[in-house]
Symmetry: C2
Subunit: 461 residues, 2 copies
Amino acid sequence: MTEEIYDVVVLGGGAGGVPAAVRAAQLGGTVAVIEQENFGGLCMNKGCIPFGHMMTASNIVGNLSLGRDMGLHVSEVSLDYEILVRRQNELIDFMRKGVVGTLVKNGIDRIEGRGRISGKGRMDVNGNTIAFKNLILASGGEWIMPDFPNSDLDDVVNTNYLLEAKILPKRVLLFGRIPWLVEIAQFLNRFGCQVILATQDKSLLSDESKTISSRLRKTLKSSGIDIKHDAEIINLAKNNGGLQVEIKSKNGIEEVFVEKIITAERKAALKGLGLENLQIDKGADFIKVNEKMETKINGVYAIGDITEEQSRHYSHLASEEGVIAAENAMGGKAELDQRTCTRILYSQPEVACVGLTAKEAKAAGYDVYVGAAPLSMNPYGMILSENEGIIEVVAEKKYGEILGVHFIGTSASEMAGQAVLAIRMEMTLEELAKTSFPHPTLSESLAEAAREALGVPIYLP
Amino acid sequence: MTEEIYDVVVLGGGAGGVPAAVRAAQLGGTVAVIEQENFGGLCMNKGCIPFGHMMTASNIVGNLSLGRDMGLHVSEVSLDYEILVRRQNELIDFMRKGVVGTLVKNGIDRIEGRGRISGKGRMDVNGNTIAFKNLILASGGEWIMPDFPNSDLDDVVNTNYLLEAKILPKRVLLFGRIPWLVEIAQFLNRFGCQVILATQDKSLLSDESKTISSRLRKTLKSSGIDIKHDAEIINLAKNNGGLQVEIKSKNGIEEVFVEKIITAERKAALKGLGLENLQIDKGADFIKVNEKMETKINGVYAIGDITEEQSRHYSHLASEEGVIAAENAMGGKAELDQRTCTRILYSQPEVACVGLTAKEAKAAGYDVYVGAAPLSMNPYGMILSENEGIIEVVAEKKYGEILGVHFIGTSASEMAGQAVLAIRMEMTLEELAKTSFPHPTLSESLAEAAREALGVPIYLP
């Protein structure tokens, strides 16, 4: 009996692994994907989808205050959290079936279990050996126990807690530098929870432009979220069914009482993969790859959260990397475009940042133009009361090439696609400045920001 | 005393005239803009802005049914129309002041009154003569009395009626082929009015792709709007404080009773401009211009609604044309990109169509690819219950150049900017197919539609 040797084996059926498998199959490969838990991975099962779902509910409530200004009579709104969670779980279940259907349609073998590299071209799953010509490692990340005193107490939880809760907590501390916590802060705040949002960093979204982070901060603060910077938990104890937390921050040392501390730290999940059997560098925090998603071992690729620091754990990045790895595994020559991974937050206002900030561009040696158009001066923005919204454009001076675009405001996540296209197509400020977006839209401010950068805004004062 | 001769006089301070004046001033010209009514024109005062405002209120209410599915307990919503109109008027007032501020900042003379060309390089306003080297005609359109029996009855009104009403009518007939009526139909329907929407055309949005128009129709019908195609009003009479209408349509002849008939027909406003004094063609329904916005008379440009059939009365088109006319008037060489004027509707789902439909592309001699990705299969679309949403891409086969993109769904108006950029930058299907949009967004379906067109969708069944 001849052993089947797959052209491509994908370890992990998440946001990266699934498109990798499909693309390899489209290119004629025999493909298997190994998944130990749920197809769809963190993103679909415990990340983007359930939290995107929560934020949608949260934003519907947020829009009601605009509605009241417009003359809509609406009652105070309450949330039946069990219904929210049930709808979310039904959606996830439906999406998971969709993923399986996609794999089936593309003739991809699904192998359920934990895969471990056992040698060159070989992987062990459930005691069976799977042979492959190419391997795409896409097994994602794992939760980290946070690094503060008594962080192993029961009431110190990660974001999974919210996916299983029956009711929402009344008082929480969200602790960490993970932007995702901003969404959760706003969601909980909107449904009656007192929220402290504490980050070790000097500001929220400390890597993004000040324009964006300060406007986000202002909105969150005005809704009553207690934001602490330069924060550190220096003591933690159980107290009366909750937690007594001593927290040091810019404000000094304070003692707070909360029901839960929610954290969201993750890292690349490298243990147990058998990387040592292929001499893949296991000393690092994550697997290093080049722009073709190649590891140092011939025929072994890695994509997604396993190849990145947590600040770049984005499922759209994993998906893009998956397609690139698959094309290269099948003999192609694809490369990752590093410029346009959107950093995104489903808060209200939404945040979407594409490409370089002015600071990063300067550090990279560019002479830069920066232009910004506040959405409070955009006609549609005025209708929507986009008081904190803005679109900021960064371009280099020599050719006017656009290097970064940063959005805060309604539909930022959808507008971000414009920035992705502009940067990929190497569009110039001049070209963007002349682009006619439909009226009335917030997108019009993208062209106006480009004009502002060039010193010729049409509508801005 | 030497007479001042303006480099550029702009007749009309609306969506086209204002950017024209600003751009001419930016280029160093001495500029005057003549406005007989309100700066901001139809769009700001009686069009896009007030109706965009109404649709925003309407869409907030629309989103509550999704909210209820998500576990939000909300009361039935009612609208205090006076508050809505007051907020709208305050906004318009604020925007008007903004426009005036922009003109002042740019050193543009504002002349209030009705301008009439009195000869070469001369215009008469309020009995004074204004002299100019270049003229940009931007005086817009005017309402037309609709063409059916007894259309002069008081209760046959145009959309201005809604801007002055104290309360909303309970039963209306919206009559005409103007897409704008779709927005009004949905707005009135949502706030308790029984709506008949009747068009002389074979379908709603009869020039758009069937995919878009049939999905829009389905949504409107399911909300209880009575849609009539191939419609004609054959008899009309006053009856009991309302109107008795005999209407012939695909369904045969029916008699309906309504409080009001609302129409929205407009045409280029050519009368009284003194066009005969410059031998500008006044036989036509609108002023013909070339891609530089030049009329046949040297130094005389025309832009916006005065140069178009009503189906192309879009304020963003007028604005773009204004900038082009101004650049050319100041000695530049700008040309209108005819490919990317977005046709847009703020209904729920929103509609935004950019570029050619497949039918138009074929008629233009192209061999075409068409790809579509339903938003009901997009993860974010599933969260948002985008049952009728879809993104459709049309490209030509030789180079894969994208010719058209049509959106129906939430944020279609903002996603449209992606299509505008893709078409202007002459992006190919291959390039779009490889673009990584942030996850989870509806925009991801734009890339999937491109992949579908190429026969390699990743997620679609």
